[in-house]
Amino acid sequence: MKKENDQGKVDQKYGMVIDLDKCTGCGTCMVACAAENNVSVRPDQSDKERTITWMRLYKITNGKEFPDSEVSYFPRPCMQCDHHPPCVSVCVSTATRLDTHTGIVSQIYTRCIGCRYCQAACPYGVRYFNWWDTYFPKDKGLERYLSPEVSPRMRGVVEKCTFCHHRLMRAKEQAYAEDRREIEEEEYQTACTQACPANAITFGDLNNPEHEVSKLSKHPFAFRLLERLGTEPKVYYLSSRDWVRKLGDNFLPGEYQPVVNKTWANQNWSTKPGRDTFSL
């Protein structure tokens, strides 16, 4: 639903469309996200249950034997749930909230008491608790990457993807400096969007019909993760493959409706025409 602000203008609703047919699983988005947002590392990163990966890449397969086996990579940032985000209403100290003007779910680290109720409530597992003290190895040159725009997090608080919110601030400041009220589509892009070599990620304002995301989100191949739970994620995925779309939600037997309408298959915005005939 488009919300209007005090001046009667439609508010922004920043969102993301990730084309799973284009994603090669290279992991650049993960690295870019970590570097951009001062995500601290640990000497031993093998502890997968406690590492911090705001952008996480899942590898999914169709579970079939060769030669029918297929693999897809599934990048997963915070879904920035639009409707009653599960994490927001539960937070005891109002450390996390949904900004209705931008649609971004933000996190105030210095207000978080680390109760982790938000983690328990989020079904996407995008919230990360700082189990360890922050660590930026000096001799590896990592300290040079530290961005002054993003606050590093202390031990004992929960953190998560913010759609590189600081970049929005930067773009806004630039616009005000140039006496503009609006910011252009390319002025605010997340780090993962910019870094993706396959151009699989598109970012922008879902409420603005001029923005690419807004068009792509209406693509017949578009779906959202666990959509039926009603969290209304602002991250959309595109896939022409039924088995991938099927893995986007828990469908009971006979419930999944394949995208059979082929009328768009030959249009240029169709990612991989014809692939939706893939049988399960």
Partner: protein, 413 residues
């Protein structure tokens, strides 16, 4: 050695025997102290909690002890508000157990959060929509009420009673106890319910999610009901354990039987509603989330047997035993049923916490397992040690059981 401090006209073990009795509990406390120190110093990485298991053993313990401690508010309500005079003989025990459970839970919560020094933000930056805020407010206030209810019992100590001002103060507090009982009932009702609500509102977690009316999910009422059913039974269990250890009769049967009877009705009502809850969840919420009942018990050590154990063996069975007058009048059956009920409540809280988070909601996510570390057990068991210690001290030095003298006359020597 400490005989001037002991209540008059009752028999207590020797100081040395008492000292040796406290040693294991002190050891548990020391273990907990070390664990707490490590957690505060090094962080929660001392536990086996993870980003998947954000809530774990401590929250299970918390929810369980708070439910078991519900005997305090409910017995207070029955004694002072409904006017069940026979319960005056067991109200002190209920209050002390309630105090132990609540203060233990608060201490555990202090370690469980990542930034304990910021704990007060719950009150300062309170998010009124969060059920956990309601829980925190009510528990804090209720702990104060429990402390106020505990004070007159402490002031009845033989030595303290000799001080006139304290005696008068304690006496006056006694007179207005109904006010605190009413406040406690109000506060308890809401936080017991909100503890259930905390899980019921997690609508994106289909295992815990429950619908209901208006802002309250069903779990709100189920948690209240289960707490007031098992709380008094836990008080009975503790009394029976004390009677067993001291080889004395401490509470007249009339009080025990009345509590057991009320619990039996409440437990039966709870079990009926819980069955409806399970049915509503299995045929309503679960399929709407695209899952089936079995999908929650497919992976890991969490089998369907947990639900059978919770509902049949620790729910329906004790409810039947307690509902039958012969059943609850028989000591062994009464204790057995009370034990089963308390186990069932702990199991219920375990299911709501650990299993809820263990089951991944995303279809391609994997199952992670969780086993607590010794530090986690240390903190949890320290509450048990603390409970034994406080209760033993109270029993030794305070007239906890008003009928003790009458039921166990000390032979003239």
């Amino acid at each position: 050695m400490d005989s001037p401090l002991l209540p008059q006209g009752v028999k207590r073990c020797s100081t040395w025997a008492f000292f040796f009795w406290t040693l294991p509990w002190l050891a548990l406390l020391a273990w907990g102290g070390l664990s707490a120190f490590l957690c505060l110093w090094k962080g929660l990485n001392q536990t086996n909690m993870s980003n998947v298991f954000a809530f774990a053993l401590w929250i299970v313990f918390d929810l369980a002890v708070i439910a078991l401690g519900a005997g305090a508010f409910f017995t207070g309500f029955l004694t002072y508000i409904i006017g069940k005079k026979e319960l005056k003989n067991i109200i002190n025990t209920a209050v002390i157990i309630g105090f132990i459970c609540y203060s233990g839970a608060m201490a555990m919560l202090g370690i469980d959060i990542g930034q304990p020094i910021r704990g007060w933000f719950i009150f300062w930056h309170a998010n009124i929509h969060s059920m956990l805020v309601e829980v925190s407010f009510c528990i804090t206030c209720y702990l104060m009420v429990l402390a106020i209810e505990f004070i007159p019992i402490i002031l009845e100590n033989r030595k303290l009673e000799e001080i006139k001002e304290l005696r008068l103060f304690g006496h006056n507090l006694h007179e207005i106890m109904a006010v605190f009982a009413a406040t406690g009932t109000f506060l308890s009702f809401f936080h017991q319910g909100s503890l259930g609500g905390m899980f019921g509102v997690m609508y994106a977690r289909p295992f815990a999610a429950r619908e209901g009316f208006y802002i309250w999910p069903w779990t709100f009422f189920l948690f209240v009901l289960s707490a007031i059913a098992c709380g008094p039974l836990f008080t009975i269990l503790c009394t029976k354990l004390t009677e067993f250890l001291t080889r004395k009769k401490l509470v007249p049967d009339s009080a025990i039987q009345l509590l057991a009877k009320i619990s039996a009705w409440l437990l039966s009502l709870y079990i009926v509603l819980k069955i409806f809850d399970y049915l509503g969840w299995i045929y309503g919420i679960v399929p709407r989330a695209g899952l089936t009942f079995e999908s929650f018990f497919r992976e890991g050590p969490y089998g369907m047997w947990l639900v059978v154990l919770e509902m049949v063996f620790c729910g329906i069975l004790p409810a039947i035993i307690l509902m039958v007058p012969q059943g609850r009048k028989n000591q062994a059956w009464l204790i057995f049923a009370a034990l089963l009920t308390c186990t069932g409540i702990v199991l219920n809280r375990f299911l709501f916490i650990v299993v809820t988070l263990a089951v991944p909601v995303m279809p391609f996510d994997r199952f992670w397992s969780y086993l607590p570390t010794w530090q986690e057990w240390g903190i949890g068991l320290a509450v048990v040690g603390y409970g034994f210690l406080v209760f033993s001290l109270a029993y030794r030095y305070l007239p906890v059981f008003p009928k003790e003298r009458e039921l166990n006359p000390v032979p003239e020597s």
